[in-house]
Symmetry: C2
Subunit: 332 residues, 2 copies
């Protein structure tokens, strides 16, 4: 018996096909048991022969929360939604973790409502990996869970993010920076100025960091900000990479000579660029809830689901929730 | 007689050498008159033969504000600082515009104190161009002038930014988006939710935009946010581009075959990447002050100063301050 992970088969732009395919791969590759949650007849259509192979179980859930549905209201009113049933399965011990590529707000609301918050945690945060070529990822905390934050909450994000970074990347002492508009002490808006003073008490705190410290190693393993700014940063990185990549491939296709050169370099470029592939970073962990909830990006492929399941499995095996509890409780 | 532009010869990481060289080029290429402001004996060292060529005048200023000095205090206490003398020159009619690559906060404080705010403008904002391959730049407003903003101020940033985008890029009707954590109405933190309601009254307003809309055309010509988020975005783009560019050039240098291919594609890549060169985007205009103040980035080269002087000249000739005044006044 492997660790059972509840997978929201109906969540994501490419659900259920890619999600179910990813769950089957995860069973094979990771040795987990997958609990596929969604409309049973639809999920079965994507299983070979309509049968559940060893390691795969189905949990019927009749409702679906779409990407643009109101998260909190949907979770409250659709008790038979796949993402809500995932959270129930974790709460009831039928699964050790949940994975969803669907509506992020709904996954968060379902996890919060059904699993509850860790005692002492005021608000949850999403820890999302930011790729750093040649090094382990950085964790951006919060990437969008809590858009209006207080200084105290940012301090909790820092403690939780640090504990999780140490577990996820095997770091003895993770460093934590506060995202600000300048490295110098005293920079920042009112929220950042208040938070900076309180963050001095957090182990590993290195002071302010800047937007240019993302995707570069050395400055901070964990970068803390409010969920509004974090979400803007995440999408800005996506847009910037897409813009520059488009320009590079336009140049490579521009003349007969560059097209010859492209035959040599494009396969290597694509291989190197895997470091930036959101399907391979493994998804974000929802910090502060009493259970393991991994959120994968909306256009997740089967491979993304395998990577997210690996993050979930590692979090279960590494007792991530206990580590996060200790980090918050130790702070008194 | 050309338009006279006061240039802060002491401001920037590469001052005074690159700044003075840029001023001389700007005189030649743009037909402006340059008023070089700084320690006269030091500035003269960078003039050919120590002489002022036609179109170049010197204004002695004995003090310098360093990149890491406290902006507001420095401007108040060092009345003979080069950037303060630049602002005085504009106020007194000795120059039509000022350009500085020095401490941004100091340039802003000097311009605010000496030129004053446009009547009705609550707070200034910096409009910084964000490169869009294959199209005109977008304007990011505010890129760092006002780190704690209210919804009303964001609305003024939108009006001012739109008026200036229309002038700078020759657009008949510039579109304006509010940077948020989702495109859907109702997304955003408290500030964004308040601002979104008020922005409906602004011509050209298209609703929420996301971080991924930067560097891509079609969604919004002007993207409005508070100065904290704007500064984080600007530096995040810088870091992301640097990270991906580093990866591309690492691949191009990785094998004998790629090094051959690199000989073909690298010159073309560097040429295409000029679109992202901050030296060539022309610097940011400080919106909301009663005069033309162009802020160039801290590591400005001579070429960056020429481009910033061109932005200043265009703002003078296009009556940017009047256009911005009208945009604010028309709003009542």
């Amino acid at each position: 018996m492997g660790t059972t992970i509840a997978i929201d088969a109906m969540g994501g732009d490419r659900a259920p096909g890619e999600i179910v395919a990813g769950a089957l791969l995860a069973v094979e590759e990771l040795g987990i048991d997958a609990l596929l949650v969604g409309r049973e007849e639809i999920v079965r259509e994507h299983l070979p022969g309509g049968d559940t192979p060893p390691g795969v179980k189905l949990l019927d859930a009749r409702e679906v929360i779409a990407m643009d549905d109101d998260p909190a209201r949907s979770v409250r009113t659709r008790k038979d939604a796949s993402v809500v049933r995932c959270a129930n399965a974790v709460r009831d011990g039928d699964a050790s973790a949940m994975v969803s590529a669907g509506n992020t707000g709904a996954a968060m609301a379902a996890a919060l409502l059904r699993l509850g918050r860790i005692r002492g945690v005021a608000r949850p945060a999403i820890a999302v990996p930011i790729p750093v070529p040649g090094d382990h990822h950085q964790l951006l905390v919060d990437a969008g869970a809590t858009v209006d934050a207080t200084a105290d909450w940012l301090v909790q994000f820092a403690r939780m993010g640090r504990a999780y970074a140490q577990l996820r990347y095997g770091l003895a002492e993770a460093t934590v920076g506060l995202l600000s508009n300048g490295e110098e002490a005293g920079k920042g808006d009112e929220l950042r100025k208040q938070a900076a003073a309180l963050l001095e008490a957090v182990p590993g705190y290195v002071g302010n960091v800047e937007g240019r410290d993302f995707m570069h190693s050395g400055r901070a393993d964990v970068i803390v900000t409010d969920g509004f700014t974090g979400n803007v940063v995440l999408k800005t990185i996506e847009g910037a990479l897409r813009s520059l990549a488009g320009l590079v491939f336009t140049v490579l296709e521009s003349t007969p000579e560059t097209r010859d050169a492209s035959k040599v370099v494009t396969p290597l470029l694509l291989d190197a660029a895997n470091v930036f592939d959101p399907d391979l970073t493994g998804g974000g962990l929802l910090l502060g809830v009493n259970g393991v909830c991994v959120i994968s990006h909306g256009s997740s492929s089967a491979r993304a689901i395998v990577c997210a399941a690996k993050v979930a499995l590692d979090a279960v095996e590494g007792n991530a929730v206990d580590r996060i509890k200790e980090a918050v409780v130790d702070a008194g």
